[in-house]
């Protein structure tokens, strides 16, 4: 049996810790398979499991600007996250029949739902292996995954609802090794209509 947790706006660090805790609980069969939606009340930087924080991030910049940073249990690189992004977080037990054993297949299978979501909102999104969603050849959504010791599969990513281009680029200046993106990379992608489609607790 599945359950859906719509957590709405939460503490930025908790956007990365709650699904971790749910995965632990799932591994102990305390809870069932879970899909979480949430978004951070304020910005944060999330680093990949194997990254070394001091090498990847200007920690002092983040502290000076009140931006928390956290290492997640998933792979990938450092990313800037803010309230303009809805996070989806999937936690599946190893016996779930929907779960492909092959990681590449798991990304392709589950991210197709995200492609459909974007397309239903009028955005011509396409899946690009291994784990990207693109519009007009440009990446608009990333994801990461992990398998825990108990075989629980975790996949998370983001749906961009609105985008603070300038702030993202500024904060990404603090991320030493990042896919450098400029404001121009995101212009032209019709995010504006997406936010209006999704009602949040603070949007009235």
């Amino acid at each position: 049996m599945w359950r859906w947790l719509d957590l709405d706006a939460i503490d930025p660090i908790e956007t990365q810790t709650i699904y971790d805790a749910v995965a632990v609980a799932r591994g102990r069969n305390i809870v069932g398979d879970t899909l979480i939606f949430c978004y951070p009340q304020s910005p944060l930087v999330s680093l990949g499991y194997h990254q070394q924080i001091e090498k990847e991030l200007d920690v002092q910049f983040c502290r000076d600007n009140g931006i928390p940073f956290v290492r997640r249990i998933l792979g990938g690189g450092a990313v800037y996250l803010d309230r303009g992004q809805l996070f989806y977080q999937l936690i599946l037990g190893p016996e779930n029949p929907m779960l492909p054993k092959n990681v590449a297949e798991a990304f392709r299978f589950f991210l197709q739902a995200l492609v459909w979501a974007y397309q239903s909102l009028g955005i011509d999104a396409q899946y690009r292996p291994l784990n990207d969603i693109q519009v007009q050849g440009r990446k608009i959504s990333g994801s990461g995954a992990a398998t825990t010791t108990e075989g629980v599969f975790v996949l998370t990513g983001n749906i961009i609802l609105s985008f603070g281009y300038e702030k993202m680029v500024k904060v990404q200046g603090a991320i030493r090794k990042v896919q450098r993106q400029s404001v121009q990379d995101f212009q032209g992608i019709p995010f504006d209509g997406v936010e209006g489609t999704w009602k949040r607790s603070d949007s009235g």
Binding site: H50, G75, N102, G144, T148
Partner: protein
């Protein structure tokens, strides 16, 4: 060198776990690593993180993690014991797991605590290994 299904190397004289690691006995201690099948299934390995020297490990529990294509997964120890040495080269050259899984890509050297008992749970017979490969193949590789 045994080649299963004309595709996966499984050297003779080693023991193999259901979690896709190999064990080589070396005068009372053991060296462990990932199998050729595991590294082929994983693809290009980006990071390897191993527990340090002195840490106790249990059979079936992680002795480290690896990352490939933004996926992180555990490397499950085939035996219980303590880590005598971790392969430091993997910190900067994780692709050694891909290039030479049975040689320079070794993961760790253990002082086993339950060797005789736990070796019984590992595979050495080529027929048994081939059966295992047949079962794992559709799980790990897209048709």
């Amino acid at each position: 060198m045994a080649r299963i299904l004309d595709r996966f190397e499984f050297p003779e004289g080693l023991y193999y776990s259901g979690d896709h690691l190999w064990v080589k006995k070396e005068n009372g201690i053991v060296r462990v690593g990932v199998t050729d099948m595991a590294q082929q299934a994983a693809g290009s390995i980006l990071f390897v993180r191993l527990m340090p020297k002195g840490r106790q490990v249990e059979s079936g529990k992680p002795l480290g993690t690896m990352e490939t294509g933004k996926w992180v997964g555990p490397l499950k120890s085939p035996l219980s014991g303590s880590i005598i040495e971790s392969n430091e080269a993997l910190k900067t050259q994780p692709k050694l797991l891909n290039e030479d899984p049975y040689g320079r890509g070794w993961l760790a050297v253990l002082q086993p605590s339950k060797l005789d008992d736990e070796l019984k749970n590992l595979m050495t017979d080529p027929a048994q290994i081939e059966k295992f490969v047949q079962v794992e193949l559709p799980k790990l590789f897209k048709k």
